[in-house]
Symmetry: C2
Subunit: 332 residues, 2 copies
């Protein structure tokens, strides 16, 4: 079977390889992938900028496919079911934070950029019925990360004023969908007027270009202040959020593409009882709740494009340029 | 009656004045103070370094005294009761954060550095029976701030590994007492070996001098890592806490005497799902719970010294030098 692996060769970091068909062990199922999707994580791994990477591993955390073979001790009823794969491995006992043994599908263990993948039976969940295979493949890591950030950590509820920064990002777009669905007033930032317009067209309460000198003042003006901010940029902007928060506001951050905040106005933060909450991925219960939420509300992920698996390297190039709006999906 | 007021004169910012006896209005009680205590807040006000200060206001947030006169619509049974005064005014409806109308006794309204004070009847609570008037007067603002920081925000529980930074401070000492009483393993920092030793003598699990170059590494070594940190220093040290936190650790900050943190390792913070929580004072329910907790566990505050009200300016001088260990109390 065909798979996309990290080579360890800097000039050609990714290559298609031919691998033996995986054999499901006891308690496992063999999934024939119908679609996979890229995450920023895959891109960082390609760039060699992710902790603990090693060559000859199949990348990919997101996938949707059909169960075509069962290991021992797996119910026959699962055969031929179409499923979404939970990329978490060994989250551990504490729902609040992952264990030291936690890893994710697609590095260091083989992932979803392959025609077949064997996973433990508790990693698969029925595909939401209202979604195509390509749409369902767009969910796992991004929607999980957004679900935890928006609901578990930012505790977003109906009527809240919420800011999603960098709404071009995959997690950010799920965060936007989730916050909006629950009835929050959702504002966004983007460096692209085109992306802003697309989100405004789907109901955002307002959008500001973060390249503007006074983006923070503009946001304050149009929103009145935020109960929650969901951010993955960090950097200088992070410090500015503090002054546009409502009292007891929550700033949840799941990345820092612009580096560490150069300073933090802790004076305003303590007087207003503002919270900064680090967040990453989500636990297995959150994964199930996320699928349930998407099913209950018949949410559709933003999908930029779907291309054949053979052309997945093109998807990596689009991610490098950051011109996509929505998930980059490949089909098998 | 005699009171200590802010003069508005920079050279002599504080002065004793003779004021008419306050008259309790309907729903109020007149308290004859038996003891008051200083907070760092009083010192900042004297220095002109507090927002919204104005002259001709009696300072003081902490006080314990006897109800000697009742306004209309107040139960006769309260007469002659000894009470602790809750310094909160208009916290508001939201338990999570104070309202815009929130103020505190002792600026902008007259406070407890006076022989008599009239306050609404819902501001007074019976003095914990196991405490002297002087000990009870040491509680209000410091113990309230610590209670919220330790329990509401840091969610400290039995078995947690907790760091209280700058344990010479009034709030820090209450935080130490509370965390220890609940069964946490409590580590402290101080710039004074003498203060560290005193806290070690009362059961701290370990102490490190924050003037050491490698205080953070020392703390990590003796504690293994922290589930919660209670801090009011901010500055460079704040950034270092991130790397000595256990996963899902909570850093609660209620001040920043060393200024804003110059940079913050948000990468470690999001991967470990660390929380930074601003905190200040506490709500009225927390005030009652704090008194209950102190009563249930028969806790005694650290009291540095008790002096006559006439000598309160000496207490301000001690606070300026920061040589005290425990609250600076005055008696009437």
């Amino acid at each position: 079977m065909k798979a996309l692996q990290l080579t360890g060769n800097k000039e050609n970091p990714l290559a298609f390889v031919e691998l033996p068909m995986p054999e499901p062990k006891a308690g496992e199922v063999l999934v024939q992938l119908k679609a996979s999707a890229l995450n920023r994580r895959d891109y960082w791994i390609r760039e060699g900028m992710y902790p603990g990477i090693r060559p000859n591993v199949t990348l990919g955390s997101d996938g949707c496919g059909t169960i075509v073979k069962l290991g021992e001790n797996v119910s026959e009823s699962l055969l031929n079911q179409e499923v979404v794969i939970n990329p978490n491995q060994n989250w551990g006992e504490n729902p609040i934070v992952q264990s030291d043994e936690y890893t994710m599908l697609g590095m260091p263990s083989n992932g979803t950029f392959a025609e077949y993948l064997a996973v433990p039976v508790d990693r698969v969940h029925p595909k939401p019925a209202h979604l195509t295979s390509e749409e369902a493949a767009a969910l796992p890591l991004g929607a999980l990360t957004a679900y935890r950030a928006v609901f578990t950590h930012a505790e977003v509820k109906e009527g809240d004023s919420v800011l999603i920064s960098g709404v071009g990002g995959g997690v950010a777009q799920f965060a936007f969908l989730f916050a909006q669905t629950i009835g929050a007033k959702v504002f966004v930032t983007s460096g692209s007027e085109e992306k802003s317009q697309k989100v405004l067209d789907t109901g955002a309460a307002g959008a500001v270009n973060y390249k503007s000198e006074d983006w923070d003042k503009q946001l304050k003006k149009i929103s009145g202040g935020f109960d929650a901010v969901i951010d993955s940029a960090g950097g200088d902007g992070f410090s500015k959020f503090v002054r546009i928060m409502n009292p007891a506001g929550r700033i949840v951050f799941y990345g820092a593409t612009r580096g560490v905040p150069p300073k933090l106005d802790v004076f305003t933060a303590f007087f207003r009882q503002v919270r900064f909450q680090g967040s990453t991925m989500g636990n297995d219960i959150e994964f199930e709740k996320m699928l349930q939420f998407i099913g209950d509300h018949k949410l559709k992920p933003f999908v930029d494009s779907v291309r054949p698996f053979d052309e997945i390297l093109d998807a990596f190039e689009i991610m490098a340029k950051n011109t996509q709006f929505g998930k980059l999906v490949v089909r098998f």
